[in-house]
Structures are given as C-alpha cells and as structure tokens.
Subunit: 474 residues, 2 copies
Amino acid sequence: MASNLIVPVILAGGKGTRLWPMSRSQRPKQFLALIGDLSLFQLTLKRLDDPTRYDKPVVVTNSEYRFLVAEQAQEAGVELAAVVLEPIARNTAAAIAAASFIAAKDGPRLIHVLASDHNIGLDDAYRTAIDTATAAAKAGRLATFGITPTSPATGFGYVEAGAAEPTGAHTVKRFVEKPNEDKAKEMIASGNFYWNSGMFLFNSALFLSECKALAPAVYAAAEASVKSATTDLDFTRLGESEFAKSPDISVDYAIFEKTKLASVVPSPIRWSDLGAWDAVWKESTADEAGNVTRGPVNLYNSKNSFVLSEGAHVAVNGLDDAVVIVSEDAVYVGKLSDAQDVGRVVKDLMKSPKTAKLTEEHRTSYRPWGGYSSVLMGERFQVKRLFVKPGKQLSLQKHHHRSEHWIVVRGTAEVQIGDHKQMLRENESIYIPQGEVHRLSNPGKILLELVEVQTGSYLGEDDIMRLEDTFGRI
Amino acid sequence: MASNLIVPVILAGGKGTRLWPMSRSQRPKQFLALIGDLSLFQLTLKRLDDPTRYDKPVVVTNSEYRFLVAEQAQEAGVELAAVVLEPIARNTAAAIAAASFIAAKDGPRLIHVLASDHNIGLDDAYRTAIDTATAAAKAGRLATFGITPTSPATGFGYVEAGAAEPTGAHTVKRFVEKPNEDKAKEMIASGNFYWNSGMFLFNSALFLSECKALAPAVYAAAEASVKSATTDLDFTRLGESEFAKSPDISVDYAIFEKTKLASVVPSPIRWSDLGAWDAVWKESTADEAGNVTRGPVNLYNSKNSFVLSEGAHVAVNGLDDAVVIVSEDAVYVGKLSDAQDVGRVVKDLMKSPKTAKLTEEHRTSYRPWGGYSSVLMGERFQVKRLFVKPGKQLSLQKHHHRSEHWIVVRGTAEVQIGDHKQMLRENESIYIPQGEVHRLSNPGKILLELVEVQTGSYLGEDDIMRLEDTFGRI
C-alpha cells in the first residue's frame, strides 16, 4: 500500500431536519456546535487528529456547504486532503466509491468512512474498535462498526454478529432493518446484535473490487466522475453528468448486505447520532433536576427539560419533559419525548412560502470572506451587519435595484467604487449608488465590521452581479 | 351640580407584572393591545364614548406613562379633560380624592371611577348597572360595582349585599378579603356575594366629605396637592411634597369599608381583570381545540393553549395547557394553569442586573415625537430604527460620548446641526459628530423613518443633554 496511515473519509453532505430551528438546510446539524464550542464536524476532525494513525481527511459534501467545510476545518486547525463536492445527491454508495478512488490515487489505502454529525467518546474502547477494524481490513475484510446497544432503539438498523474471527471482528450473519420495540428487545437479549453505525473501515482496493462486482453502475459512475472531476480553488468537483448516472443507493444496500467479506466490529463505545433534541439532551450534562440549558435561560420548577437559546432570553416555568429551542427568528416548543416530531413540523413549515425560509437559512449567513446578518427588514430598506475577515475581500459586484450605505464600526475597510479606491476607518461612512461597480476588502489585521443600510425597490440576495471573485463564485 | 354628565376617572398608573414578557414596567398591561387592535386603555376610553352620559375623562397616571396616555387617547380620537400625574405612588384613595377635586373644580359632579386595564362587555347588562349606580349616587350613596361571580375565584375580594334599595342597588353588609376556594364556593352558593371590581360611582361632594371624615390625612394631602398642582403641557402635576403626605392606602380600606353610605350594584356583566395569561386566553376566541394564537404561530397536535408572538415564528407541538409568549427579546413558556406564577418569575428576573432590563422596557420605546427600536447592539456601536410623526420634532440635543450616522429610509427629515439646517430625503445620509448640537424634525405629511448608527465608548440613553424641547423634558 502507498501508506499505512488510514485515510478518513468524512461524509458531510447531510441535511437533517430534526434539530430545527437550529439546523437549517443551509447550515445543517454537522456544522452546529451542539456539544460544547465546536461543531460536530469539527469534533469529528479533532477525533481524527492522530498523525500516527490517520492521514489527512477527505471530506465529501455538496457545493452548498463547501465554504463551511473549508472554514470550519481551518478554524479547527485541520488540513484536509480533499473536499469532494457531489454535484447531485446519490446516497452513500457512490459518494464512498468516489472518495475511495480519490484517496487511493497513488495506490491502495486503508479507508475509514465516518459520519460528520455523530458524537463519539474518544476513549480506549473507541481506539480498540479502530484497531480491531484496522486488523480486519488488513486481513481482507470490509469492516463495519457495530455499536453495542444501550437501549432497544427502534431508530437504527441492526447487524447480527456470527463467529469470531482471529482479529476480534465477527462475521456478519445478517443486517436487520429498523425493528419495532419488541423485536429490538429480543435482539438485544440475544447478545449478538449491534446497532449499524454507518462507520466502516476497509482497504480501498477490496472495497472497489466488491463495488465493481456487486454494484457495477455505482462503480462506473464514481470512476467516471472522478476522472472528469475539476478543481475549483481547494475543491474537487465530481463530473456531474457522470456522477448522476449512479443509482441512488446506500452503501449498506449496494455492498455490505451483499458481500461475503463483511465483518462486524463489536464496539462498546459511547456513541450517539444526535438524531433529535432528546439525543442532544442525553449527550449533555444535566443538572440535578435533569435539565440542560444553553444560552440566556432561566428555569423555574422544571425538570427533565432541554432549553437552548441563541437569541431572546427564555424563562421556563413548571414544565417537565419540555424542549424549548429559540433561534434568532424561530422558536420550537414541545415535549422532549416527542422530539422525533420535529422532522414532521419542518416538512409542514416547508410547504408554505411564508415559513419555508425558516427551514432553509438563519439570519446570519457565512461566506468565505466572513458573513452577514439581516438585522432589520423594512418595506423598502434593509439593515445588515457585515463582518469581513482580515485579508479577505468580497467579489467585485453591482446591484441593479439597490443602493447601499456602509458605516464602518470596527476595523478598516478598503472600498473600491468604480475605479476609485479609498480607505474607510471606524466611524466613517460611504454611499454606493445603485448600479455602481464596487468591492469591499479588509486590508487590516483585525475583523472588519460594518453596518450596511440598503434602500431600493428589491432587496433580495440574488440582485448581485459578480464581475470578479477570489472564491470562484462567478 | 355643575352638569348631569358623569365624569369618568380612569386609573392608569398600575404596573402589573403577570403579563410578562409583553407587559414591562415602562409599558404595562393597560397600554397593550391584548384583546383586538386597541390597548385596554383605549378600549376603556371607547366604552366611555357616549356624550349623552359621560363627560370627558380624567386620567390619573404617573409621569412615566404621560406620553403613552396622551398618544393612545389621541389615536383613539378621545379628548381628555385632564391627565393627572401622581408624583409618587400612594394607592387608590389619594388618587381618587385628588381626581375628584379636579373633576369637581366648578362644582360637585357625578364621578365614575374605573380601571384602565379591565375587559368589559359593552351590553345592556353593563348599561343597566351604570344606570343603577347613577341612580344610587343621585340618591346619596357611594356605589360600588359588584360583579356577579362566574366561578369561585380566589384572586378577588368579595362584597356581601344586604337589603335592596329603591334604586336597585343593595346595602353593603361587608367586604371579604380574597378567600380560599372553599370559602369562595360557600359565598357563591349563598347568592349574596359579588366580586369587588374596583369600579365606583358617586357624587364627588359626598365622596370627599366621607373621605374628610374617614381618612382625613388622605383628604388633606389630596386637597393640598391639587392646590399646588402645576400644568406642564397638557398634564396636571400634583404637588409632590403635599401628595407624598397621604397614607399609602386603597380606597376600599380607607373609605368603602368604613362608610355607612356604600351600596353595591349587582352587575351581571361580562368582566375580566385580565390578571394573567389564563384570563387573556379566556377572554379571547379559541379554536375548536381550545387554542388561542396571535402573531406568526403554527400549532401541531396541541390544545387548550395560548401562544402569542411579536417576534420570532413559533411552532408548538404536542402540548396541552401551555402558554408561550414571545416578545422581541424574551420568551416565557409555562402551563396556562400556572399563569399566576409569572409575577414570581418577573420578581426573580428583576433581581439580576442581566435580566432586570427585560422586565422594564421593550426594544421599542415610544416617545411623544414617535419612537425608536434598538435593532443591534455591538461592542462600541448600536443600530436604532427611529420613527418621527409628521410635524413633530425631537429636542435640540447633544451627546458627549457618541457620534451618529442617520440614513433616511422613508419620508423627509429636517436636520439641524449647530446653526445649519438642511433637508434630507429618502436614501440620503448625514453625520452628527460627537458633542455637536443637533435636532431632528419631520416637516412632512408622512411618517419619517431613519436608521441611526451610533458609535462611541458609551451608548446609554442617558447620554443626552437637552437644550430645548417641545415636550417639556428639559
């Protein structure tokens, strides 16, 4: 093999809805700091920060999240081997196959496929599971991690373990779909069943040969899309028409349930998929009354509740089993034990144009140069707060329907209007007439913050004509 | 008597806490639109809009609410006889005595004392009660309105009716303090007990003579404070040192429980003191599931709940008996049946400097010239939205610690900086340097709206030096 280090392949393209109103389609679960100060994606990167064991990770995501991936990796101080962009969603089989081709471009590699949005305890049990899976992969097996169940969960699939192999892994007897509770209890009682975690470890050559044999259309599409991939800044864009030809199928269905080479690694590890607010509550440290709070929250006479606010101050009185989630523009209130229902609520909100936006974006949007919040929307005006990172610049752009007033409130801006450039310091302002070509840069060493007042008859984000952009967004 | 018309005396100085986070000490219950589009104070004014029966009302309030009273009366198209400002809170006895002196300055008058924050059905039963009380007052009685109880409420005092009088009123046998539930049920079963509503109707001369006899210190303080009162714009400010000498006592304790001249008018009227959110819910029209919502709210699988939002979009799922109140900067979640607890929550929030402000003011503040909202507070900057009514102007002022950028987003502004005046149209901006004397006016016919960006080391509202003001606020 080209190297003995494992290449982590992190799947970061998912759009879960059940952590609304925090998760939005433009900023889903994996990019949120739900446990501590780092996002789940960043926690995943940190878990892989062991140069004796892992090579630089390959991240598979889609175009919409590429800057989030790049920025969060940079923030976490982790260098990525590649950020692979799926041009269209084709489930996990094609994504993992394409990532395998890319990771193994210089020869076969050990590959560890993992989710970007799970919470895993980094302890000896975890490291032992990785070691066992590595040994199994080296012994010519496709290893899947089977989590030792801690409850008869009905939200996961299960794997039944067969005979033990010399590596400590077991043969796979069969995969079982999400069961009902009775079935789940029965399986757990037998002691041979594990939760199907969606984490794998294998040799790329073996995985790809099994893929070619068992799912040839997936293999062909992945191979062709990698061959026709283009590089755009630090991103690897898979060929769209090629990738689109792959069946929309999970790696479990396409390969693991069919191959004779699968092994399951019994993994008695602390693991949660943080599937809904009740799971986040369970994974957090509760007070004596069983309450977990984050943000400006006061609880009175309440227990077993989860209250999180990123905006308004919240007072909760006399509740049990409650979940209250307050974002800048939306509030969810329900029972913690009904947390699975959030997905259904989000589906309903998506139906109406008035509420669909609340499922898509937050008031604060992140861009490769920094970001902005809409702080006030009037009838013919809008106020935004902009922040530009040191050394970054926005695209050279113009707007057909709005003019803009910029007031610098922190740092120093360089503003180009037409052919003229000027510096703007704290407490200075400038006016950008409608239709005028302009560009904003932060030439300084500290964050630039400014208040933008837009006026005009149309204030949508899509009234922007980019003439030049350092981030390839033209 | 000087006139046969009744002078309404509206008590509008209260600061209830139990409708938090909507009610704040700077904008309490009576000034909120809780039932329909008018505030409770405005609904009270509308109920008195019958020139065959009522003279112009006298409103008793305190200095903090004077502009709210004046504006809301103007908005409702009601002319007030006087807005009497209590210099210090001394409970209802002194307030009613002072208002009686003022209402009767040209001779004795019939006076109807009423709260500004009750919800009352304007129907025949109500008019009959007023007629009966008027007849009783003319017959030399101090009439109190006894509401026919609809439940064994423990939150009100009760009045026991004695023998019927020729007017239809009854003698008062006794007043009973807030009872426990058993006692309340017993009283209701007897059929002779009524809720003590805090509404009265009497001849000012009789009331004042009883006050002089039964509560001479209240009488003396009220009389002296009216004699030393000053007029400030349209407001009558009672003499502070004189008014302060009154005992802090309710009119019930000071006079009605002592006088031999009290009569109770049995009033089978639709009445609610809207004392807490459960009362507001009861007074609103619920859907089939017993839910009442106001603002951007989606309910799923919920019943018997009250959900109100003035800010974020709210989704409530799977709750029964819930109250969820969302204001711009605070959220309350609890059981509707625990609505009385809100007062305790507010007292707790008042204790901490971090949360006390949430009990005092809203993000939007109203001023006699219009108002403003704080839309964004940064470390050394703040963004406000200002609105100035047509024809109004702010004070001539300066700030020691901040400079201001103004951007007109609607209407036309006249801006004076130093001695220089200039007009500013939509989409134009101006800069007010720190320490510079300035004044903002709206010379136009439509509302002026502007976005103000303040920068400086201190951005508190109290950094304002007023050099001249049309509203007497220097």
